[in-house]
Structure formats: structure tokens, C-alpha cells
């Protein structure tokens, strides 16, 4: 039955991609997926990217614009009517003015399309052309659901319970485990009990994600990022300690299992099939600084989460998943965001740490489908750099306005004072960042968005960024050649 379903899905997918290829011939489209775990900077990245393209910002390493071949960029209507529009204008407005703040974070999938009129410089196809870029923004947590598709409820329960007993999580999961202990999985199913277990499970996941723990590998993804499904039965389940005995019909465990299957089939799978499988390019934003703040345990957890995210990009040929959907992503860029919280002398090290995480994950897989690259970037730079001399020592620092409530070295900020922050030095050897023994002395402070610079005519100049142009060149430069 599964095979028949697979063949049907595959035929559907093939028909759709053939139709898309035909449409592409007339008006080329590029679907760019932007993802990353919570607070990795997806929203800001997209807003800054669209802003830089539309307003013609400073992008010296983005060849098409640097060579003056882009004649016009404008927002246009998105192809999928069932998907929310990315609130570009609201985000832009939020980051301006005296009470500027970072925009609200991604909670669901959203889309924004822009049309780029350009002239091709490739020798065969010279002349005016148009590329439509569809930017798809979705929470990275959803990619963590991919392994779930292959798991049964019993396996999922066993792994979740085992993970909750790990040293980093044992105190966090205490409440949920207590609730679980008071429930008989083989008792009669009741909605109240299911809700109680699901709520406790969700609270545990949320607590693990929050600072100072900053853990990342917390499936199922929709528990943290429910999107439009908040409170639906498909999200009201939790792992249970099942033991070995068979599960009787109409028991609580049976109900949970049904809901887990519903989650897989009606929540997780449609996302992979309808959105993920149609992406051409992908950027994965990774906030390394928060886990580094929290310590080596959080970095190791991030590595595990990245491992699962990467699994989505290297679906093998023989697995069940590859019959359900075949990703066609050609290029994946891993970007360590918030590089502006560091002095540029540390960027290479930040990039090396991310490179190591990604490389190790790839080494574990046999094939590498897409072309990948690693970058340290900041889509909107909120600081400028400075050298601080204290007594005899020289420190490479960054100057900005730290957000209210941010603390460093016993000092708390109110969100108005400007300060030079020395966050500590990243280790020369990236492996030291992953070792628990290292005991790194690092503290990265969040800054408020920068005040917008205006030139003499009152026009807003290109916003400062770090390597946004390199990211653009990698992701779409070849399509604008």
C-alpha cells in the first residue's frame, strides 16, 4: 500500500515538475528557501536582502548589481495563494524610527516574490531578461520532523524519553516526566489526559530552547513552531513510556499513536512535499553565538540538530523518503548570522566553527547532493568596530546600543546607552568550541537595530551589512550571469 502511495506521489511530483520546467522556459523562476532555527535571523535576513535588491544597496561582490546589469527590482505577486505573504513592509517599519526594534520572528511559512529585470552578460543569451525570485521563509524546526517520518510512535517515544534523561536535560524534563509517571498508557483514552501530557511536554521543550540552555534538537518541530495548527488534535500528543507489551485498542497510547500518525501525514509530510521539494536554492541560517554563550553542551546539541537539518538535503536514493519526495536543491549556503556582534578579526574563526559543524555532518553521510558553502554574515549590521585600550592591553571591540536587559560582566543595559563591547576571543582552533572541557569565556550581547543613515537629500542609503552580497552571489549569481 505504501509503495502504491509512493508511486502515486512520485507521478504527481514528476507531472508538476515537468509543468514547472515548461513554465520556467517562458519566465524563469528561482525558489529560494530561507530557514534556520528560532532567532537565527531569518526575518531580518529576508527583509535586508529584499531591501538591498529593491533599493540598490551596496553589494560590491554581487556581480550582477556591481556590474550595473540590474535595471529594476520590484515586489510582485507570489505564486502560491494558500501561503501567507512575508510581511516585508511591517518588518522594515519596525526597524526604523526612535522606537526601532527587531521584527517579530517567523512562526509559519511565508513567501515573498520579487521580479528582477537584468541584462545577461553570458555570451549566448545577451539582452534584457527577467528573473522572478520566490523567497520562501519557514521555521528550521520543521526540518527536524524529517526523521520522524520514518519512525513509529513507539520509536519516537523511546528516543524522546531517552533524550530527556540526558544530563543536559534531566532537570528540565523533571516536570514532564512526573506528569508522564502519573498516566497509565494502557488506560482509557481521555482528551484531558492527552492535553495534560502534551502541555507538559511542550513546556519542557520550550524551557530547553530558552536561554541559558539554548538547546536546539527538540522534535517534533511544530510543538515549538505550531504555525496555524495551534491546539489542533494533531499537535496534542506526547511520547509515553510504553514498555514492551502490546497497546490495547482505545487506550491512551492508542490515541496518541493515531495522533502521531496524523501529525506525520497531515502536518509534516505536506510541508516537505508541497514546499521543501520545490526549492531550488537554500540558505540555512545558524545562530552560533547563542549556543556559544550557553556553553559547549548547547553547541553539541546544535550540531546534532544541524545533522538532522542536513538529512533533509541528502535524502538517499533508496530510502522510503526519497519515494515520497525528491529535493532538487542545487545549492545550500550555511551562514553563521550575527557576525556583527564580533570584531571582523574573529569572523574567520566563526566561519571555521560553522564549517567544522557542517563538515562533520556531511562526513557522516555518504553522498553530497548539493553544492554547499559556509559564510559568516550579518544581514543588517547593528554595530561599528573599535579598538579599546584598557591599561596596557588592546581589545578588538564593537560599538552599538545593547538591547534593554542585556547583561555582561555584571552590567545591565537599558537600551539607550551606547557601549563598546568586548565579547571575548573565539578560539583559534574550531574544535575547542565543541569541547566541553574548553570552558570558553565568551559573552555576546544583542544590540538594537542601527539608526538608518540618510544622505544629504534625505534619501536612505544602502544599509550596512557583512557579506550579504557574497551570500547573494552564491545563491543566485549564476542565474543572473
Amino acid at each position: 500500500m505504501m509503495a502504491a502511495l509512493g508511486a502515486y506521489q512520485e507521478a504527481l511530483l514528476a507531472a508538476r515538475s515537468a509543468a514547472q520546467a515548461a513554465a520556467n522556459w517562458w519566465s524563469p523562476r528561482l525558489r529560494l528557501g530561507v530557514t534556520g532555527l528560532t532567532r537565527s535571523g531569518k526575518t531580518i535576513f529576508i527583509t535586508a536582502l529584499v531591501r538591498a535588491l529593491v533599493a540598490g544597496g551596496r553589494l560590491p561582490m554581487f556581480a550582477a548589481q556591481a556590474q550595473g546589469r540590474i535595471s529594476a527590482v520590484r515586489l510582485t505577486f507570489q505564486p502560491d495563494d494558500a501561503v501567507a505573504r512575508f510581511p516585508y513592509e511591517e518588518n522594515l517599519a519596525a526597524m526604523r524610527g526612535p522606537d526601532r526594534r527587531w521584527p517579530d520572528s517567523t512562526r509559519r511559512i511565508s513567501e515573498l516574490s520579487i521580479e528582477i529585470d537584468y541584462e545577461s552578460a553570458a555570451s549566448w543569451f545577451r539582452g534584457a531578461r527577467r528573473l522572478t525570485l520566490d523567497i520562501v521563509d519557514y521555521p528550521g524546526e520543521w526540518l527536524l520532523d524529517l526523521p520522524l517520518l520514518e519512525q513509529s510512535y513507539a520509536e519516537f517515544s523511546r528516543m524522546s524519553v531517552a533524550a530527556a534523561r540526558e544530563p543536559a536535560r534531566i532537570s528540565l524534563s523533571a516536570e514532564w516526566r512526573a506528569v508522564m509517571a502519573g498516566i497509565d498508557p494502557r488506560g482509557a483514552a481521555s482528551d484531558a489526559q492527552a492535553t495534560k501530557a502534551a502541555d507538559a511536554f511542550r513546556r519542557y521543550l520550550l524551557a530547553a530552547r530558552a536561554e541559558p540552555h539554548a538547546l536546539s534538537l527538540l522534535p517534533p518541530g511544530r510543538f515549538l513552531m505550531p504555525g496555524d495548527l495551534e491546539g489542533s488534535p494533531a499537535l496534542t500528543f506526547a511520547p509515553l513510556e510504553l514498555g514492551e507489551a502490546a497497546v490495547p485498542r482505545d487506550s491512551l497510547a492508542d490515541l496518541m499513536e493515531r495522533r502521531f500518525e496524523a501529525y506525520k501525514n497531515h502536518v509534516a509530510l505536506p510541508f516537505f512535499r508541497d514546499h521543501f521539494a520545490r526549492l531550488d536554492r537554500q540558505i540555512v541560517l545558524v545562530d552560533l553565538l547563542t549556543p556559544l554563550n550557553a556553553g559547549a553542551g548547547a553547541v553539541a546539541d546544535l550540531e546534532a540538530a544541524l545533522d538532522h537539518v542536513l538529512a533533509a538535503f541528502r535524502v538517499g536514493r533508496n530510502s522510503l523518503l526519497s519515494t515520497l519526495f525528491a529535493p532538487r536543491i542545487e545549492r545550500v549556503l550555511f551562514a553563521a548570522t550575527k557576525a556583527d556582534l564580533l570584531h571582523h578579526t574573529s569572523h574567520d574563526r566563526l566561519q571555521a566553527i560553522l564549517g567544522l559543524l557542517v563538515e562533520r555532518a556531511f562526513r557522516r553521510s555518504r553522498e553530497r547532493g548539493a553544492k554547499t558553502d559556509v559564510l559568516a554574515l550579518s544581514a543588517l549590521r547593528s554595530t561599528h568596530e573599535a579598538t579599546v585600550r584598557e591599561g596596557r592591553s588592546m581589545l578588538a571591540a564593537v560599538i552599538g546600543v545593547p538591547e534593554a536587559g542585556e547583561k555582561i560582566d555584571g552590567e545591565e543595559f537599558d537600551g539607550t546607552a551606547e557601549a563598546a563591547i568586548y565579547p571575548g576571543d573565539l578560539p583559534q582552533d574550531p574544535k575547542a568550541a565543541l569541547d566541553a572541557k574548553g570552558g570558553l569565556d565568551l559573552r555576546f550581547v544583542r544590540f538594537r537595530p542601527p539608526l538608518v543613515e540618510k544622505d544629504g537629500l534625505g534619501k536612505i542609503r544602502g544599509a550596512p551589512h557583512i557579506r550579504l552580497d557574497r551570500a547573494l552571489e552564491f545563491l543566485m549569481g549564476d542565474r543572473l550571469a
Binding site: E390, D409, I421, Y422
Partner: protein, 348 residues
Amino acid sequence: MASNRPRAFRLHEAENGNFSLEDKPASRNAVAIAPDRSLESELAETGDPDLSLSPAVGARGGRLSFGNVLAFALSGLALIGLSTAIERGIASLFDQNAWLGGVASALAALAGLALLGLLGREALSIWRQRRITAMRKEATQLRENRDALAARTFVAALANLYAHRPETARARALLAELDRDVLDPADRLAVAERELILPLDIEARRLVAASAQRVSIVTALAPRAVFDVLFVAGQSLWLVRRVSEIYGSRPGFLGFLAIIRRVLSYLAITGGMAVGDSLVQQVLGHGIASRLSAKLGEGVLNGLLTARVGLATIEACRPLPFVAVPAPKLSDVAGALIRKSVAKPKGG
């Protein structure tokens, strides 16, 4: 107290403002914060960023050889002879007529001043030329050692080299704007090469192509071999001078000689390779043309020679090595020449 403990410095607490890294701190616990300097302040403060620290500059010269000693002694003798002759002349003029003697001594002083000015200009032009050579080496090093701050200073110096050229205004403004952005050193150099140097490349290339064509036509038409030898030599010298001016050398007489020497050394190095990469073209172009007419074949050959001199000059005078922009090949500047000379007899 660990010196690399993460911490914050509120801006109003610090003795805010610029300090240079060599300044001694006021007290042990004094804190000073200096925003990393930008291009504008760099240019405003120092006018001409100092590149003389670069080891490449001092590498040449300074060695004592018999030739140098001989030249020094002879020129000293000549100078003494000349000055005593002038002095004696002025003295005898004073004996005859005090008024005439005054005029003569004033003229001698003027001549001395002019000589000083001339020497100063020559020295400046040689210094400029050496600085450009030093920049090439420095650019290669910068790409390797990823020093972002040094790359910024370097690009500022490069922009400053062309500050007197109005047509580079847009490129310089762009580089100044990029100055505060975080860019990898190689990227920054690539932008500078593309924006600032590429227009100069195009100008130089056009000049070389035009010159090569002129030489080939004159050679084909000149009635006597003497004329075309003279013309090729004159045209080559003119080309070397113009190309070096395009890249900002502004050579005087001695500086010009130095450039010629460098061009010759480049020709010696690249001559073999140039034959290698375009042998077929040269033989073919020359072969077909010479079979049609001996004079025409000579024209093509002389044109190719001039083009090669032009390319060597570009190579010698460009302040950045060719990285972001592909180096011009012989066919880029002499391609038209071969095609034309082959096409012409066909038509006629």
C-alpha cells in the same frame, strides 16, 4: 584578572576620542576607545599614506659597484668643472662691468634653482614608479595573509594614487563608501581592481591596439627600411610613456629610463611565453600576409612587436597584479591587426 574577560565599556565613561596605538596610557586603568579609522580621516590626516615601510622599496639600489663609483666621480668632476667655469666667467664679467656681472650671477642662480627643481621632479617620478612596483608586491601579500586592516589602508593608498584624475571620481567614491564595510581583503582588492583599475586597463589596451595598427600600416607603406625602424622605435617609446602615465607614473627622464628597463626585463621574461601562446597566430598571420606581400608581412611583424612592448608596459606599470580582471593577451590588442592584414589583400 584575566585580560580577555568579556566586558563592556560605556562610551561616556571612557576618555573618548582618537588615540594612536603608540601613545602611552595616562594611567594603568585608563580606558580609551577609538573607532576604527575610516578612509576619510586616513586621507585627511596623512595626505599620502606612507608605504615606505614596505620592504620592497628599499630592496633595490644601495649597493656599491665600480660603475656607480665611476659615474659618481665623473659627475662630481663635471659639476666642479662646470661650477668653477661659471664662477670664473661671472668674476671676469664683474671685472669688466659690475652690472653685467650682477645679471650673470642672477641667471646662474636661476639655473641652479631650475636644476634643483628638475632633480626634485625626477626623484619624485622615480619614487612614484617604485611605489607602484612595491604596491604590486604588497597586494599579492595582502591576498595571502588576510589582514583586513592592511587591505583597507592599501586600497585607500591606491585610491589616493589616482586622486588627481577626475575620471576616477566615481570609483574612488565607491571605495570610500565601502571603507567602513567589513570585506575580506581579497574581495576588497577585487573591487578596487574592477572599479578603479579596469577603466585604466581598457584605456591602455585601446592605446596599445591603436599604436600597433599604426606601426603596421606605416611599415607597410614606408619606402625605406630606415623610416620604419625609426618609426617603430619612436612609437614604442611614446607608447611606454603614455601607458605609464595612464597607470599614474608620470615619469620624468630618469624615471622613464627606469620604466624602459623594467619593460625590457618583462619582455625578456614574457617574450618566450608570448611566442608560446600565440605562435600559431603569429606564424599564420605573418605567413599569410608575407606570402601576399613582403612589405605587408613586415608590417604585421612590427605591429606585433609594438603590441608586445605595450603589453609588457601594462604589466610593468599596473599597481595591482591581474587577479579579478583577466590579463590582456596578444590577440586582444593585435587580433584586429592580423585579421585586417589578412582580410585587406583578399578584398583588394
